[in-house]
Amino acid sequence: MALETATLAGLAHDIPVTTRSDMRVPARVYADDVLWEQISRDRSLDQLINVTTLPGVTRCAYGMPDVHEGYGFPVGGVAATRAADGVISPGGVGYDINCGVRLLVSDLDVPAVQPRLHQLVHELSRSIPSGTGRGTRLSLSEPELDRVLADGCRYLLEREHATLDDLEVTEANGSLTRADPAAVSARAKSRGRDQLGTLGSGNHFLEVQVLDEVLDPAAARIYGLAAGRVTVLVHTGSRGLGHQVCTDYVRLMDQVMPRYGIVLPDRELASAPFASPEGQRYFAAMCAAANFAWCNRQQITYVVRDVFRRFFGDAGRLRLLYDVAHNMAKLEEHDGELVCVHRKGATRSFGPAHPETPARYRAAGQPVFIPGSMGTASYVLAGTDAALGLSFGSSCHGAGRAMSRHTAKRTKPGHEVRRELEAQGIVVACPSSGELAEEAPFAYKDVDRVVDVVHRAGLARKVARLRPIGVVKG
């Protein structure tokens, strides 16, 4: 399929295939002039060009509007490789396999929550640990962990920690059938065994929000969203288990690449043919780690629901709107062929016509979430059919970092960030002032601008804006 440029009005920055001699396809970044200038400051573009050298890469490598420097792929990078003769790259998924976001929606309004907001946020923080050692994580026996890895959220449905309704509105119903627990090392399992139901650190968080503006009333109705309602956004992934799966397979791919004659400009892009034994084994392990991540977000949901029920009774019921992955490799059909779409720091954005869009959302498109940073808005969007041609059906996953953690800490200490958030009426539960400073709003791109580019480029359509009132950080 030819690149579609007719309606993009300055938002598509194309990097021709002739830019570097080892490129196999062109690259494109969706950005306005301000974001493009920010993106050009770090190594995002070099990294995106490196992605275009992967054997079997097809059509184009895409940078989302939040793209920034990572390792291997840039964060916010999307590329597809042919399943028949292309490669799969663990570095194209990243260490936090199926890091993702889910949104829970309540019928509560702010006046009902505000008087107990401090206690609510601190109870959520107490009940949902960042790591192991305290809180209400789910400790698993070896057979139980294997069930999580093999069956994903279907296992939590059996334990009554999930509902059928939850599974229907989780990407892939929270379970990838190609998962094989035997492909996950004992080391990875030992990292994950007592981490189910934990947030992790870094940019992972749980936010209590209020829906402060409906931007597309028709789509909002279909999603059951109304202005003034309180929501909860959960952002986390596969924790140490996923990190170790990536570590194990980057190491393996690094060692087998010469056997397949693969030469790449970055060792972190280490790859093997998708159809090879190593490629298939990684894919099975990655799917298992993805199932673990969905169970992690589902277990957190189970605890959040319990806390809301204790605080607000039946009125505190929380409905899952949707759950999207943003570090994943998926087998999908694009341009008439089966491809392995690597999305690293990018989410699916499937439109109304796509068969994987849940039936109840068919009239609007799949819900897409773009969280901002602490203190700034997050957005609910709807996937578009046009995104298939623009980005293999992908959108961005957040505001995207604009400043290093080191610089952020030097710019403003954590206690000042905390005071500023509290001055905006946001209750913060974060034990580490250092990590709070690293994740300060000024360290990120302007989420309103990022979302505006997504909307104008047609990658997804704005539906509603959410404003934080409480933040729990790992």
Binding site: G70, G133, T198, G202, R405
Partner: protein, 136 residues
Amino acid sequence: MRASFELLDHTAEVKLRIRAPSFAELATEAGRAVARLELGRAAPAAEGAYRDVVVRSPDREALLVDWLNELIWLAETERWVATEFEVHAATDTMLQARVRGVTVDEAPARIKAATFHGLKVAPAADGLEAEVILDV
């Protein structure tokens, strides 16, 4: 050259630069850097028995990554952060060390992994200089 480490700017992750007179001292200093990041403060005195750690890798760069990933794995699975290092043997493909450390209440979760991106171990004046990016 005196062994040292510093944190360099990287938009999303932690980029470490380590300098040392030898590869054994480089590995020790890289271990200290990971301890500092995992604990979020200067490491307290090590306690308890020594553990033996042996890592084998195809080359010296991979050896550095594998060594750090071993320390990260130990910290997360055993709530135990290595803070004191005695590297007994270091070749281009094998590193053998005795380590001691401290037990922590909460498993450190700050570092996901040491990566191969931009990885280098190169000769420098009076020793070696390495750069490695940690996913955080």
